[in-house]
Symmetry: C2
Amino acid sequence: MSGTLLPYTLNRPIGIFDSGVGGLTVLKELRRKLPHRDFVYLGDTARVPYGRKPAAMVAEFAYGITEFLRGMGVEGVVIACNTASASALPELAGHFSIPIWGVIEPGVEAAAKLTRTGRVGVIGTKGTIASGAYQRRLEQRGLTVWARACPMLVHIVEEGLATSPECDLLLRHYLDGRGGIDTLILGCTHYPLLHDAIQRVVGDSVTLVDSAEALAQAVNGNLDASVGADPASGAPGRIVHFVTGDPLAFGHTAAVIGEVAGEVVPLPVTELIRLQQRGADLQVCAGPPGSAPGAGRAPAATTPSHPTAPAPPPSCAPDR
Amino acid sequence: MSGTLLPYTLNRPIGIFDSGVGGLTVLKELRRKLPHRDFVYLGDTARVPYGRKPAAMVAEFAYGITEFLRGMGVEGVVIACNTASASALPELAGHFSIPIWGVIEPGVEAAAKLTRTGRVGVIGTKGTIASGAYQRRLEQRGLTVWARACPMLVHIVEEGLATSPECDLLLRHYLDGRGGIDTLILGCTHYPLLHDAIQRVVGDSVTLVDSAEALAQAVNGNLDASVGADPASGAPGRIVHFVTGDPLAFGHTAAVIGEVAGEVVPLPVTELIRLQQRGADLQVCAGPPGSAPGAGRAPAATTPSHPTAPAPPPSCAPDR
């Protein structure tokens, strides 16, 4: 861990990460439920967007980020990014000994409770939809699924075009063919910003599920609300945002979501690449069956994950 | 300059920068004309896109980048980004003693030569169009101008959607109302990738102007082609790409433009912020009239700029 990060002494913070600013919608929900807790937010703006990148690349990014957050002493990590949740959650949960929450299972649960006809839709990035993560879980519950990748919607939000003609054009295009769904999961943390526009296109008979809200509920139920600033004092928890891109640019893009509360600190992406590299080094070594950490080696876990014991240390030295 | 950059000993390289991968279209054109020259490309992928950011912010970015490239010993700097050319070129050209070429003037010149009816259109990012940089220059030549900001088209290219229904939908939307133009400037380095789709929408009676090509022509006419690898040896020039974001992610996004030829080196965005800061420090000091370097103080220059003498050194120490 770089010495420059040492001043950020937080009280058992909760880690949250996203490819960029989208996860701020999740942070907002979490703060509403846990106002006295400290948070560390990591926005990987040097590599945004994740949506079109190969799943293996996104999984590597997620590994390095989780390793970084773990080094910050977080109590658990919230993957506030659907693409990363779809690509990396089972592997991360199998590798790390702290709880890791993803955005997909809470969204699926909420949709399953809400639907009356059993016909549920889900929209997300290319990566999220291609992974089939939502579809599989919904189908396992006996639901009929309509899924559609909407690659341009993240950009609509980040360009501040949520109420533009471009937005309406694209939404009508993407949501055409949704058939008789009565529930639609907004499977990307940016999409709640398009809530009203989407509701206009699908009509009032379709209920929209905001994954950020569902996730915050799930995390809240698994954490000790008494940790952090004394609730009686009314003092809010502290928030530090690490961003791999430019802090100024982060603030500018984040303005479409709302104000960034807390400090914004630049984190060289090379620091995360170094941590990823460590994961890759571990990957190539052959440990005892089931013990090797990293991508593709750990058993799949559900969300949230609470492994009963920490992963064993790597059984060989990096081979370079 | 960081010690890690020292191994990049190039022979009077030409510097090129862009907010991301778009400038690779300009690099491609330049290499076609100057195959034996060395190039340093800087892709500011940690802060992409520039198109919606305030002009003053983009000008600061451009200052830090030009300072970095100057430190690499470049013979001149090509701003292969319409937004940055529109926001920063006159100030940079007034401040630095090396030639700085922007993409706007060459595009305007090419369009003025091509139009028969005198009705010219230009499309670009929000920043480029809002600056009025193209419109002013075209109108100064007595031409009638139609201009339109197309904020989603960069994303269409970077998402690999150049031949998608989304692309056609958005192009028809943006190009509606173009009236009787007979020439259309593609005022963003990403747009040549949409050349065929745009041509289909506007029809064959409208000539498209590729600014990358026009800029390469202008730079070529101002440089000594004999510098670099010996043309007789047939050896191509060397290229180093510095990227502020993740090199892997750069390569992935760049694939929509074509192969990245040459080495890709991560450059912490904090290094550029430090160089910008130096510019900001200089800004607050009061030098003799006309001598203070930085934004808003130097006289506007045309493209390309060849100041007859280097700017005088700052006349005061930074105030912190």
